[in-house]
């Protein structure tokens, strides 16, 4: 036979037992031709374009999944940042267009749609201000529209005024969705150096440099990587561990490449990219934390976690790059706390703290992700936390992100429950040492040096 029984059973096992899946097929749609100073007309053009381009997304995704016998979990859409589409400095205009986007997504059967986005790493425009002012309302009243704001980049430094503004937006959004533990904040991502072709929510937007429309595929498979390490046993040295991760990453990426090409073919659009990211879900075994445990740490957060994660992230990229010439997006390991069973356990046990998480984000994608903190945390402290994470991205020339939930009325020892893919998390302690004066200085932290980086 063309394939050995071992090869076949390995693949079947990866899908059936290790939950290897195509995490998301995301259709990127450019809205650059939908700008209109009349909000109603703009909303109409945006809705029509999403409905026209996305019409067959759901049907074709199911077709491809069935045709190959590979599970495809989510169908999503990413849009051009709305700050480039709505040419009116009026929050009401942004709310009107956002409602139209949310309805269109609902009509197409898409669970999340990304692109309520402003890019203010160097400064704000009147339009950015209007978009940000509309953000708490949009996040509280729409179900599917995800927001993101770019606050920093290696080339422009960190917009500290932006960090402070966004910390207040986060707190207001959490308050507006207090009855669901502040779930609005789970749809808001703050970025340093974002990629413009990320298929993963909530941080996906479709950058202005992208084509009219393209397919972005996100593959995942922490379970398959863990299985490969388990088979290796505890005596293998770390070089062998890295090799095993690379081989698994290669196979997982190949499955994504096959699906991406076929999806693009079916929808008649470009195959934009393939993002191999180990993205956990709350399901048993679908965990990045458990990979660290299999490597030999008692729990994620133990000393050695940063080193182990660096190796994992790097090996995943190396395996993925060889498997596809369309690798893009984030392509690494995600460590969202509430979405990963092993991270939740470690947070409950106090094995992992915000400070350790912050260190770990310097070596992986993406950042402080799905971390719940006390609702009483001040806007100044929150802004300082955001700035710290932006600094890591800025100086390391990589993407970092913040998706923190200041859960209203909750404190350390309490739990937040979001349900579904967003999972649940214990409230993590935040340092009580003040950074107020630093944050209130405002202004911009200049772009860091690119050489002499010792």
């Amino acid at each position: 036979m063309k394939f050995s029984s071992e090869e076949i059973l390995e693949t079947v096992g990866m899908i059936a037992e290790d939950k290897l899946d195509i995490r998301t097929v995301t259709l990127g749609i450019s809205l650059l031709d939908c700008a209109d100073p009349d909000p109603a007309a703009c909303a109409c053009k945006v809705r029509e374009k999403i409905l026209a381009k996305g019409e067959k997304l759901s049907e074709k995704t199911d077709f491809v999944a069935n045709e190959y016998g590979l599970p495809i979990i989510n169908k999503r859409i990413s849009l051009t940042p709305l700050s480039l589409v709505v040419p009116v400095a009026d929050p009401a205009a942004f709310i009107e267009v956002a409602m139209a986007v949310d309805k269109a997504a609902e009509h197409l059967g898409v669970d999340f749609i990304g692109g309520f986005t402003a890019m203010i790493q160097k400064g704000v425009t009147a339009i950015d201000k209007a978009l940000i002012a509309a953000m708490p309302e949009v996040l509280a009243t729409t179900r599917r529209f995800c927001a993101s704001v770019v606050l920093a980049s290696t080339k422009s430094g960190i917009n500290m005024d932006g960090c402070y503004t966004m910390s207040r937006v986060m707190k207001e959004t959490a308050e507006r969705t207090a009855e669901q533990d502040g779930i609005g904040c789970a749809k808001l991502v703050l970025f340093a150096n974002p990629v413009e072709d990320n298929p993963f929510m909530a941080g996906a937007f479709y950058g202005p440099g992208e084509s009219e429309s393209s397919i972005l595929v996100g593959v995942s498979g922490p379970g398959a990587v863990r299985r490969a390490l388990q088979n290796l046993g505890p005596d293998a040295d770390l070089g062998q561990v890295a090799e095993a991760i690379k081989k698994s990453a290669f196979k997982i990426t190949r499955a994504g490449e096959l699906v991406g090409k076929e999806m693009a073919n079916q929808l008649g659009v470009n195959f934009g990219n393939l993002d191999l990211s180990l993205a956990p879900t709350p399901a048993e075994g679908d965990s990045v934390g458990q990979i660290l445990e299999t490597m030999g740490l008692a729990m994620p957060g133990a000393p050695g976690s940063t080193a182990a994660l660096m190796m994992l992230n790097d090996a995943v990229k190396k395996g993925g790059l060889f498997a596809s010439s369309s690798v893009g997006g984030l392509s690494g390991a995600f460590i969202p706390v509430s979405e990963d069973a092993s991270m939740i356990t470690a947070a409950k046990a106090g094995a992992i703290t915000i400070e350790k998480l912050e260190a770990m984000t310097s070596v992986c994608s993406v950042g402080l992700d799905m971390v719940a903190i006390p609702g009483a945390t001040s806007a100044e402290t929150l802004a300082a936390l955001i700035a710290d994470e932006m600094a890591i991205g800025c100086v390391n020339n990589k993407t970092t992100a913040v998706r923190i939930i200041p859960a209203p009325g909750k404190d350390v020892g309490d739990f937040v429950h979001f349900g579904g893919l967003l999972g649940e998390a214990p409230i993590m302690a935040v340092s009580r040492i003040s950074a107020d004066t630093f944050v209130k200085r405002g202004g911009r932290i200049p772009a860091p040096l690119q050489s002499l980086t010792n």
Binding site: L9, V12, G69
Partner: protein
């Protein structure tokens, strides 16, 4: 462009019993699925594992329907049948 081959890989895993291969092969024949290659072994002492390459060019059935029919044919046995396009394996195991 070369016409895509409609080859599938069928795997049957579970408790060994008399007649598994016969039942699977009969069902495939009924639905005009042509077996190209077949490989069967017993793992350990009792786990039955069969992998099978077949051509579904002449069959009108979609992959999920084939999966359902094959599982139906062995429904009283402790077995799990999966069906996938052979291209998945080509992509994952051959550079």
């Amino acid at each position: 462009m070369e016409k895509k081959k409609k080859h599938i890989i069928v795997t049957v895993i579970g408790k060994d019993e008399v007649g598994i291969v016969a039942k699977i092969a009969t069902t495939m024949a009924q639905h005009k699925i042509n077996i190209i290659d077949i490989n069967q072994k017993i793992l350990g002492d009792e786990i039955f594992a069969m992998t099978l390459l077949a051509d579904r060019e002449k069959s009108d059935l979609s992959l999920p329907v084939i999966t359902a029919k094959l599982n139906e044919s062995v429904k009283n046995m402790s077995l799990k049948v999966t069906v996938q396009d052979s291209e998945v394996f080509q992509y994952m195991h051959r550079v």
